[in-house]
């Protein structure tokens, strides 16, 4: 047997003390297609980023071609023949396709004409129909992905890591992509393939490795797997039972649905939200599950006026029976639709302001402040109520939000939303990057909100969270709500099955 090209020995990667990857051993043979599968947040990207030099492992060793290596940058890894196609595209939008392909090994002076001709030939050899003279910023997601793939191939890499390459490709483009993978394989290139599409993984891989909660579950030849066994390995969780408490046989009863508050019909936005229809009812937590890129966040951002639906035949959003269409969030906030963002650092708070100022800013944003000017006494009073209610822990209320832990930051964002007196609250990933103790507290708040009769929408990628909190579960896939489960029929397997098929 030949020696593996890449070998990871007992690697662990911690972010601020939280292990994203725990003690994982992984190897990649020459000329092999090796699929990495797992749920969102299972650690697939983190693992491959350690190979590609984006992250350095906290513990453990990375071997490449038999030597221990410590790449400090992706550039260094690339020079050594490891190329990674990132999930978030890493192209320079203001350069043309050809320039992007050449980027990294450009000369001091470049002749564009020659560059375009060679790029054209190269792209055609891959069967990718992209015009090399167009600016990358003008390309669609699929074309960008193709350029990204082409760039990885062009660098004559010995190892190519594809992180969800096919998510945005059409079936025909996928076919060309798979042909390309086969050609690369025949040339002796080793490929790591990360995908949510299990069929694809089964189709093109030689071996499959499954990760769950940052831990290695199984590695085996592709023949040993079928779709069902993969899903079972992906979701079967023992770790999280401790966290969420599995009351065996004690089936949770769902809260009865109240009035229909939100009715979304045929809503469309570009290729991200496609003719989706669903309803949200009073007094219930409506859990929305979907893989990343399935459009669940976008659907609700349209409802809250953060994004705009298609102008032509974009569908209808009805709030309490009345059609509404918000172009900006402000009127939505006035109508009581509050969206709590998943990306709190970017959209959730003013990071250099204090807790008090942040909570008060929510009140001012909704025009609910009593005085016409900023009132520090009102701010202090408000902050006192909400820090107590949500148990926000800080040295004092004047500490800056950026200094808080993830859990406390999330609580500030939640407090900021709740002071706006929501009539419909949309929580996007309410416990992402939040410690265990704060998760339990945030969950208690969510339950309290639903019991007080409020319609609550909870978007989450984390299945146990969905299962332990929701009364109804909606599953989104490819920009559309494709399945609804009541809590007594929902299982991990069923939800994931609906999300990937």
């Amino acid at each position: 047997m030949t020696a593996p090209v890449v070998e990871l020995l007992n690697v662990t990667k911690e972010f601020h003390g939280n292990a994203a990857i725990k003690d994982v051993t992984f190897d990649l043979m020459p000329g092999e297609v090796h699929s990495l599968l797992g749920e969102n947040g299972a650690g697939k990207s983190t693992l491959t980023k350690m190979i590609a030099g984006v992250y350095e492992p906290t513990n453990g060793e990375v071997h490449y071609m038999g030597n221990t290596v410590e790449f400090t940058s992706p550039q260094e890894a690339l020079e050594n023949g490891i190329s990674m196609v990132f999930q978030e595209t890493s192209l320079v939008p203001s350069l043309t396709v050809a320039q992007n392909l050449e980027l990294g090994n450009e000369k001091l002076l470049n002749r564009l004409r020659g560059l375009y001709i060679s790029s054209q030939q190269f792209l055609q050899s891959l069967n990718f129909e992209v015009d090399p003279t167009t600016l990358v910023s003008q390309l669609g997601a699929a074309k960008k992905q193709m350029v990204e793939i082409a760039r990885a191939v062009r660098h004559d890499a010995k190892v190519i890591i594809f992180d969800e390459p096919t998510a945005t490709l059409t079936p025909e483009e996928k076919y060309h992509f798979f042909q390309l993978v086969k050609r690369l394989k025949d040339q002796g290139v080793s490929i790591i393939f990360i995908s949510h599409a299990l069929e694809e993984a089964l189709q093109i891989s030689d071996r499959i490795t499954i990760l769950r909660d940052g831990q290695h579950v199984i590695t085996d030849e592709v023949a040993a797997f079928d779709r069902d066994t993969i899903i079972r390995h992906m979701v079967g969780r023992n770790l999280t039972d401790e966290l969420y408490g599995d009351d065996d046989g004690q089936a949770r009863k769902s809260r009865p649905a109240g009035k229909r508050v939100l009715s979304v019909q045929n809503l469309s936005m570009g290729s991200l939200v496609r003719n989706t229809s669903f309803s949200v009812f009073e007094g219930q937590v409506t859990g929305v599950f979907g893989l990343i890129g399935s459009g669940r966040t976008e659907m609700f951002k349209i409802v809250a006026g953060i994004l705009k639906r298609d102008l032509f035949h974009g569908g209808e959003v009805r709030l309490n029976g009345k059609p509404v269409r918000y172009r900006v969030p402000r009127p939505a906030i006035h109508d009581g639709i509050i969206y709590v963002t998943e990306d709190r650092k970017l959209e959730g708070f003013f990071e250099t302001k204090s807790i008090a100022e942040n909570i008060y800013s929510g009140l001012v944003g909704a025009d609910l402040n009593k005085s016409k000017v900023i009132s520090y006494s009102e701010m202090a009073e408000l902050t006192k109520i909400w820090t107590e209610r949500l148990n926000i822990k800080a040295i004092d209320n004047d500490s800056r939000v950026i200094e808080l832990s993830g859990g406390n930051q999330q609580k500030v964002v939640l407090a900021k939303a709740l002071v706006q007196r929501p009539k419909l609250i949309i929580l996007d990933e309410p416990t992402r990057g939040v410690d265990v103790g704060a998760i339990a507290e945030i969950h208690a708040v969510i339950n309290e909100l639903a019991e007080s009769g409020l319609p609550v929408v909870m978007i989450s990628s984390y299945l146990p969270e969905i299962l332990s909190l929701s009364d109804r579960i909606l599953v989104s896939r490819l920009g559309r709500i494709v399945e609804e489960f009541s809590i007594d029929e929902a299982t991990d397997e069923k939800i994931l099955y609906a999300a990937v098929h």
Binding site: K259, S263, Q265, S277, G314
Partner: protein
Amino acid sequence: MMKLLPTGFMDRFLGRGSAALTVPPLDGALKPNNLLEELPKGIAATAPDDIVLWNDAPLWSDAGKLVSQGGVLVEMSSDITALAVCGSNLAVATLQDGLLLLDSALQPITPEWSAPIQNITALATASDNDLWYCTGSETCTPTEWRRDLMEMNRTGHVGRIDLTTGEVRVLKRQLGYPAGIVVLPNGHVVFSETWASHLVEMSPEGKVLGHVFDEIPGYPGRITRRIGGGYWLCIFAPRSPLVEFVLREPAYRKAMLKEVAPEFWVAPNYRSGASFSEPMQGGALKQMGVLKPWAPTWSYGLVVALDADFIPTSSFHSRTGGRRHGITSSMEHDGKLWLTGRGSGEILNIQLQTEGSKT
């Protein structure tokens, strides 16, 4: 600039508002199941329409006949379109003779009505001598409901009849095919305005108080009381984006009404799938020879349990490819929910687990 142009034009141009071809989804309590399909075979009937409790037993109409479990009791000269029990008497609405009143021996005792009453789609009793009625349309009979939908008529009305004096009062006009009515405990009524797909609450004086249930994904028909509070609503046909589209295309619609045989109209129906000549909506209904459960359908079977505030709590379905479509009326009695299945030509009954609840 938008203000300068008429909203109708802008809506049509942008495909929004009144021109949005949207149909609400079947979700929440209306989530599809197969409960109607799984019921055992019912009592055969040719065209069952309405069912009531008469002498402590179900009594239903089958075309022109009044039938009980014992057999045919009376035969009318034309089809029966609605039934109601008023104390010891039975009110029977027929196609040709309008509203008739029968006594306990089913002999006619019809008084002289102060105004002619035609095309009755539903009846509800407020007291022994006080009857509410719905006239679906002034131009189309209840058997021609599909034509009424396609002509987009708004000529239905809801009225009240005093059975002792024969006085008829029309309380609300210009309705889109009212086809179901129920009297609330507080004396108000709720009727279904079918072509608008909502239920309307109205005071006894005829003042509309609002919509108690709107955005219904089908065409709501008769409403009956649930034992223990709440109501049963029969939704006799599904809405579909294609029908909504055809309704917004007047030239096509008028040509279709004129030139195409009614059974092949692009319109909902009590039953469908019998002929390959029926119009299909948007591509394949079948994949690998299997009918897709979400395939667009012209007919559907749906009975919804509503609570006292008209919020749906559960539902019984017969989906695409099923037979128990076109459920036109319901009646709860003795732990069973009796249904008239127009699509399959059956009188069905569902054994309810607890009174008024889902099995």
